[in-house]
Amino acid sequence: MTSRNRIPTILAVGGFGLCLLVPLVVHQDYELNVLFRIALFAALGLAWNLVGGYAGQLSLGNAAFFGIGAYSLPVFHRLGAPIVVALVLGMVTAVAAALVIGRVAFRLRGPYFALATIAFAEVLRLSAKNLDKITGGDVGIQVPALFASDPSRWFYWSAVALTAAALATTVLIVRSRFGYALQAVREDEDTTLACGIDAARTKLLAFLISAAFTALGGALYASLFFYIVPDQVLAIEISEKSAIVAMLGGAGTMVGPIVGAVLLETAQELFKNWFQEAHQLIYGVLLVVVVLFLPDGIVGSVTARWRKRSAR
């Protein structure tokens, strides 16, 4: 590898190193929780980006995997599994669910695929509401604490680690044959097939990886909140936000979802404090503006402009 290729790696490692030091400066639980959410949605956005950005399949049902990860922690723990085992079982369950959902939903293309993924997540949400014996229904269920002492810091560090792992996975994938195959699927499925690539399997594999990361994110979130209900961890807002942070930052770019999560979460938090109830409206308008004027996302637009300039 040339030294030019090492610069982004050094920047990324350095960046994450700095992120880990943040709790030395920031002590308040509120602020650490905001930073936790930024890192969490960066990870969820990166997970979504594999399927929605690189493979170009607009999944709007990632809440299903988030919810499965969130509920697996208390459910498997109650059945006697240690916390770490419950976390792994949550990932396994989410991957199994992704296998089923993907097999069915990938038969559909474009908006129909998106609708099918929404439907699956909604079915899970409604099921969770009605399966009181397992999930506690709308009353909710208590989630075991992942960290006994100093939880705000540890949750923040865990979310940063999850983001780092998701980014590293993205980089490895994008630089591999699998990454090229994913992008080929996005660009033209017939051409992909003519190159001897099993397009259906390629999409499914990305979906499974995406589900595993999303489930871990769900488990972290659930444990932080200590008590969860279906309308919270299986909400369509989770799916939408996973997609939106990636699109805002730049779908199909490596760091786009991180940029998107930082901007969106920060903006949302500020607007919530400044405008109270009106923040939703401003948030909506902002999204429309981005979609209209920066369709490639922030990172996508910047790199396109930079490339044009260097080509001159």
Partner: protein, 248 residues
């Protein structure tokens, strides 16, 4: 000379779309070492035939065999892995990827390694004289370049048989002939047989060893190019019945 073997056999193949018989009881074969061209007016079923061979569509009736193996039910990516490369008449580039990356996707059929795929792509692009555009995104390239890209991508999969769907159509004559000369060199790349669909008779006459003529989904003539173009039924299919008397 030893007896030639058929690398591709198409036997009594039919395909209907509703009431339209797109391909009607067509039989022909492509021999090892042969360049066969399929000609015929628009809508004669040429592209459908290619789609049937490559698994993008399944025939209603008939058998297609590649290297002695029946292809029935084989999905397109498996057909490609067996060694049939194809181009698309309506070009299908991976628009947001560079030309080199487009060709690399074909090369990935034989290697997992990105560097090896890139090397292979470079070789193929050099052969097709496309080095100048190799780092440009496919998006925005002119049609003749995209047609060449179709060939490059297919060639990178190292096919034994390559199906070329109107790759010279729409090119100026000089460029069409230059490309035809390159097509004649495909055996250097391990391509043992070529089946082309083409309108440009000048090119067909130059490179084809044998020609089959399709009209309204049916095979109406087969033979050496110079011979086939003189046949009355071929002239009728192309120009209409009234020219048959004059020329035939």
């Amino acid at each position: 000379m030893t007896k030639m073997t058929a690398i591709l056999k198409v036997e009594h193949v039919s395909k209907r779309f509703g009431g339209l018989r797109a391909v009607n009881d067509v039989s022909f074969s492509v021999q090892d070492g042969e360049m066969l061209f399929i000609v015929g007016p628009n809508g004669a079923g040429k592209t459908t035939l290619f789609n049937l061979i490559t698994g993008f569509q399944q025939p209603d009736q008939g058998v297609i065999e590649f290297a002695g193996r029946p292809l029935a039910g084989t999905p397109p990516h498996r057909v490609a892995r067996l060694g049939i490369g194809r181009t698309f008449q309506i070009v299908k580039p991976l628009r947001n990827l560079t030309v080199r990356e487009n060709v690399m996707l074909g090369a990935f059929l034989h290697t997992r390694k990105v560097a090896e795929a890139a090397d292979r792509a470079r070789e193929v692009l050099e052969f097709l004289q496309m080095q100048a555009v190799s780092e440009q995104p496919a998006n925005g390239l002119p049609l003749p370049t995209l047609k060449r890209l179709e060939i490059a991508r297919a060639l990178a999969t190292r096919p034994k048989l390559i199906l070329l769907d109107e790759v010279v159509a729409g090119l100026p004559t000089s460029e069409a002939l230059a490309l035809a000369a390159l097509l004649q060199r495909l055996p250097e790349w391990g391509v043992t047989a070529v089946a082309g669909v083409e309108h440009v008779m000048q090119v067909v006459m130059k490179v084809a060893h044998r020609v089959v003529v399709l009209d309204h989904g049916a095979l109406i003539a087969e033979g050496a190019p110079a011979d086939v173009v003189r046949r009355p039924e071929v002239i009728e299919a192309y120009l209409g019945a009234k020219y048959k008397q004059v020329t035939g």
